[in-house]
Amino acid sequence: MNRTHRSAGGSRGLGTMEVKSKFGAEFRRFSLERTKPGKFEEFYGLLQHVHKIPNVEVLVGYIDIHGDLLPINNDDNYHKAVSTANPLLRIFIQRKEDADYSAFGTDTMTRKKNVLSNVLRPDNHKKKPHIVISMPRDFRPVSSIIDVDILPETHRRVRLYKYGTDKPLGFYIRDGSSVRVTPHGLEKVPGIFISRLVPGGLAQSTGLLAVNDEVLEVNGIEVSGKSLDQVTDMMIANSRNLIITVRPANQRNNVVRNSRTSGSSGQSTDTSLPGYTPHTVQNFHPEEDDSDEDDIIIEDNDEPRQIPKAVPTSESLESLTQIELLHESTQNGFIPFSEVNLCHSAGNVNMEYEIHDPDKKSLEDGTIITL
């Protein structure tokens, strides 16, 4: 339990990694052996030890490579945190009794200031009590409202993260009709609506979608003119990272923007804003969103692994963002997409794409055995 992970002073060998841990206003710095991170319980004990808070129940969080504040509460996410730390692992510790669960999640980068101030000064953030949607047991967030700044206030863009959770998406859509403002006046047009939320499903648990919300876009593609079946297929095809833009049936809970630009003020509740659609489509490149690109390969009855991306050529470079991502991760010596690495051998830093047992190698050299 009290095994020390502290390595020799300032030596920063290949196998070690710096940890910067913050509790209240106090920082502690120490290092860990990257290849042997140990168990979460040990790490938890270590943190209590270095902060000298042996009997305080705390929540442990870290900042991942995207700047998201994510929890560490089991071996898996602990290992994940260690393996992705770049170059240093930043740990935030909160007392369990005044923990702010909403601080965890993606896009915390964009809200960084708030998040950090929340975490850093938990006592001065007591103005409005927040609603705990769910315990942050999951490694990944399950949903978020995005693009608030570029959407009309009457619209809401919701991202549902299917992977990392066992919950079903849990909603149904139907045909319906909605009224649009057109140059020729009001016009009744067919639309797609959410018809049902399955209790306990992802969609319901987020509270961001409701029955009779009109679906306007799926991952940046407008649904107008598409049939119910087409929209169904699009949603299922994007189900691992579904972004749907809706016009909520209940317009009273809309997100109010902090700084309104002059152009977007005073809008009526109509939904067809000719100026806005191309803008949003530009902001979404579903074909470049590679978060679902984690196909798995099993070779020669080996462990399942994710399929890496081939060395990009000019044809296969799909976006600048991807290059950045690639760049970022190669710096670290990791293959891309390791953020959702499913294999348990992720600690193996120098993982080659093909791993063969010595006898398997010999098979390849000639003798082939029938199954």
Binding site: M234, A237, R240, E287, D295, I298, E299, A310, T370, L371
Partner: protein
Amino acid sequence: MRRFLRHGHDPVRERLKRDLFQFNKTVEHGFPHQPSALGYSPSLHLMAIGTRSGAIKLYGAPGVEFMGLHEENNTVMQIHFIPGQCQLVTLLDDNSLHLWSLKQRSGASELQEEQRFTLRGPPGSPPSATQITVVLPHSSREVLYLGTESGNVFVVELPSFRLLEDRTITSEAVLQRVPEDYRSRRSFELVEALREHPRNPGQILIGYSRGLIVLWDLHNKRVSHHFLGSQQLENLFWQKDGRQIISCHYDGSYAQWPVSNDNRQPEPLESKVPYGPFPCKAISKIYWQTTKNGLPYIIFQGGMPRASYGDRHSISVVHGSQQIAFDFTSRVIDFFVICNADRAAEFDDPSAMVVLAEEELVVIDLKSAGWPAVHPPYLASLHCSAITCSHHVSNIPLKLWERVISAGSKQNSHYSDMPWPIDGGTNLAPDPPQRDLLLTGHEDGTVRFWDASGVCLRLLYKLSTVRVFLTDADPNDNMNPLGEDEWPPLRKVGSFDPYSDDPRLGIQKIYLCKYSGYLTVAGTAGQILVMELNDEESEHVVDHAEADLLQDQEGYKWKGHERLKARDEPVRFEPGFQPFVLVQCQPPAVVTSLALHSEWKLVAFGTSHGFGLFDHQQKRLVFVKCTLHPSDQLALEGPLSRVKSLKKSLRQSFRRIRRSRVSSRKRRAGGGITAEVQEANSKFDHDALQEMELAPIQRKIEARSAEDSFTGFVRTLYFADTFLRDSSRHCPSLWAGTNGGTVYAFCLRVPPAERRMDEPVRAEQAKEIQLMHRAPVVGILVLDGHGTPLPEPLEVAHDLSKSPDMQGSHQLLVVSEEQFKVFTLPKVSSKLKLKLTALEGCRVRKVTVANFGSCKTDDYSENDLAILTNLGDIQIISLPFLKLQIRYPCIRKEDVSGIASCVFTKYGQGFYLISPSEFERFSLSTKWLVEPRCVVDTPEITGNNYLHNRSGMEKATRKSRESGRSSGDPGEDDERKSGRLMEHALLNDEKVLKEIQSTLEGERRSYGERNSRRIHVGHGLSNGGAE
């Protein structure tokens, strides 16, 4: 910015695309769905068929065909050619008349609608007053006589359709000449028949339904003779010399009446009930054809004894002592007899009888002894037994082609060798560029080989797999010839036989290797047959093996059909494809994928439970792989039909009701149906509709999971010689893709040829790829170092220039219903992808590699993917960079059966079913186009106003005479000039599609949507024009 550039238009590529791709629907193959009318022009030697959806199709010599579609999409009731003209008149069931012309434009004839007309009575008169029952185009070509329900005969001028009221033959005028007592009994009579005097155009014969027949003198406008029939009249025929008329009647009798110039009351010379003495069905049409030897041919439709044979669809031919009642497989729509068309000739001399039945066309040779059937070169009944799958093989080597034809010719020995008697028009289409085979698998366990090279889809050879199995049915059942003393002397003709003895025999997958002649077919009960082409008859035992695909799975019970029982004793096989190995999957689920490698002598097969590999050289099972998810109860239990939800089965029962309502409506036209049934039907329909409307249609949005049903269903199998494990050595491999998005790759070791029989083929699983979007894998393909798809087995051996590049690195293309993905080999890393569903909401239904040649330069061609989506669109996607090239709407998305039946060729053409009996052919290529191009000439008119047949031998000299004739006949020249303005009308039979739709619509389509849908079709819709 980068993105913008990537999608930018490259003008060079855009130009190339125009040279490569072009979408056309070119021709419809097969038998028209729901034919309703038949017409024939003795002078043009052209036949016309009308359908219930308003289409008309004209056929002449093989390759000569035209299509037209009435805008109204109403049933075509009658078709009449204008004597001696390239014109015809159609009567629709909305009582409208339409005039169509064959006009010449840039050397080829085109069918064009010219005029339409609806006969209207004075205001206030009942609709029956002008309801047309019969149409007689007069030989003067100036007028049409229209018999109506009111008994009046109206006269309209051609081509203007102007009603000539002063020439109307009213029933009052006719009845004045009829004896008093007769007149009083018959207050209302509809006109049942109109016939022109064969020698004297000034006289017409009018037959009324209650039996009265009058001879009307057109010049004096009076009745010159009347014949008082006592039986309800069905039809009339005038003998060639004009001296006798024949009437046929409702009670199954016919009568001969003399026509003489004296004024006494004529009595029938002879009245006969051919199948008496018990009550008989009506004789609805009769021909009396004279011959040189004096014995006439009496040919009549119906007349069967009501009680015992009333359900037969028969046409009887009587010639002296010979008499045969041809017994057709479906209702007879109409028939005609081909005889000497020369009106001046002394005798009719009939040569053939052409019968249009509801499901097939039958032609009987009346010249040859025994009156054998003639093998039609077109209008094949594709649906003799329902089509269950199809497979296209391009560019067949001549040797194989000849062997298939020779095998087929032995099967066709019972056909007459008479040349095809309907030989009008001249086929101008160039010879097909290559020999193509289309193989169709059928529900009854047969595979039919069609010559799909040209416009005429011709049956070459029929293969039956039934004999391999023990079934209840005796295969000789239908061949049973009737005994000598049998009366009536029925003889079954035609091949339409939709009733399958055992649905397990159905063919589901076909693969033919054109180089080796190996054929493998797989069926509904998990049976896989491997066959070899043998020119000799053979009697041998078919080896059989079992493949247990469940292996370790225990505790489950297959609740589907049993597997077929194979015969253990030697079986006699006729020359052709003869099975030598039978593999049966256990459980006997339907075979869902099949691949054959003729060089390695391996066959791979897959079902919903797994897949296996069989060595057909050593006749040994190499391995099986179970792909089933342990919790997938549905796949384990039985055939796919068990999955149907309650909702779906409900919908199907409504469909059944709808169908019965449709067919009852059809019956009303013929014979009548009680009103109550209809009323009940429509009420039920209405209730059902309301019920469906209460619950709105909604769709569940859920990610696919490994536990979903049928994830183990094997969708595709593929053999490749590639770098599966290491980049220095390539090896044979087998790839399989499942419904759950998994790809398995097996490394194979095939012994060298000299030890092929001594060492076993070995296989070892090398890779398993799980696509995380878990969509069904519908295609797997390996691209060589140049990005070109690997060649087919043996292709390289036969064509050296095609050997693949084995130096560069190979790539794997996996096509799922939702995405296209390219991976590197042997180390699998993802290289490229194209997401289809996420962007467009459509899914891949069919995918194939097609070679597109440029229409501008002969030396450029490229390989692309041709795909068909669930929305019925066709897209072309480039290889190896997966860029969308072009998209065409092809099939309506509701036409689920059409989409499911689509098959692409290797050179950018394709076929899909537009009805159970018709393939639409389409082309995506600018280079390979098969479409009809033909010309029909107007017959010459001789001085005495009689017509001469100018087809046949004279056609050969057509061109030379054409030039010499131009001065002689100015009228015809004018017509030719105006013809140049006409559009080619190659029409899509939209209403047929609509009807199939209503019965076969997809499971996800809403009930209300289906009912409210209206399809508007213009009759000028043609050629499917590219975007």
